[in-house]
Symmetry: C2
Subunit: 156 residues, 2 copies
């Protein structure tokens, strides 16, 4: 593992370890070790270094939104008034649990958010009652995800 100004370098063994754990965070280290052909202790040490280097941000259980009744995902482009403070709007967006992602973006909008709703009715309520009323929001454009075809992390 080497550091230059741009990026931390990881070798092939690190990649194999990470690929396995990116797919299943609870995969036993020894299983990975046997597959790769090095000891569990070596894997353990590499993981420690990868964490120290910040390559690993953490781990997550992934929840199936649809099974819990959240069936509508959408992207909302938000136009903010010139005068308004972006960070105030973001602070309000953070309070809305349906907002999963929020990006400052180049282009037409000031902000792009990804939201999860139970259904279209819920989405409409969210837009009208929670997002549009935020101070500084002048207009929104909504794109409903009819079907998500790809969902993955960076490929190592």
């Amino acid at each position: 593992m080497k550091i230059n100004s741009l990026a931390i370098e990881i070798d092939g063994i690190d990649k194999e370890i990470l690929r396995d754990l990116m797919e299943d965070a609870r995969k036993p280290i020894l299983q990975i070790a046997n597959k790769i052909g090095i000891s569990g202790a070596a894997i353990h040490q590499r993981l420690r270094k990868l964490e120290e280097a910040g390559v690993i941000s953490g781990s997550k259980f992934v929840i199936n939104n649809k099974v819990l009744g959240y069936k509508t995902m959408a992207f909302v482009g938000i136009y903010l008034d010139k005068a308004s403070s972006n960070s105030d709007a973001v602070r309000e967006l953070k309070k809305i649990p349906e907002v999963l992602e929020c990006h400052y973006t180049t282009g037409n909008w000031s902000i792009l958010v990804k939201i999860i709703c139970r259904d279209n009715e819920h989405l409409m309520q969210l837009l009208n009652k929670k997002i549009q009323p935020i101070d500084g929001v002048s207009r929104t454009e909504t794109f409903i995800s009819l079907e998500q075809q790809i969902e993955r992390q960076i490929q190592l």
Copy 2:
């Protein structure tokens, strides 16, 4: 846990367990058990049911893209020719490792994708050499994420 036509219901204890594991997939069951005040075996049993019910889709290590040198995230709205087959375009998008998400959407575009690039140069190459050339793609609109302010899962 009850099933109606819309959603699986989970109780407060399930939520506490899931909240912990959504934050850290490797958090020891016993630690969660002690915090909640039930036995490890009970947690274990509940997790098994949640998996059977499909509430848990899996678990992931989360990789820090920036640390690995991938510093530019962008959303690309893709216009497809009327005549073209959407699924052919998606098949090509799946082959591009920089594409992290891909959605069929309502609104202007046929498809919205989220991509990760090393830098703006890489993004430009990706658009010109990989995405624009896909059969059926007539035009694209790109929104660069200047800063991601929110990144989370559904809140239980």
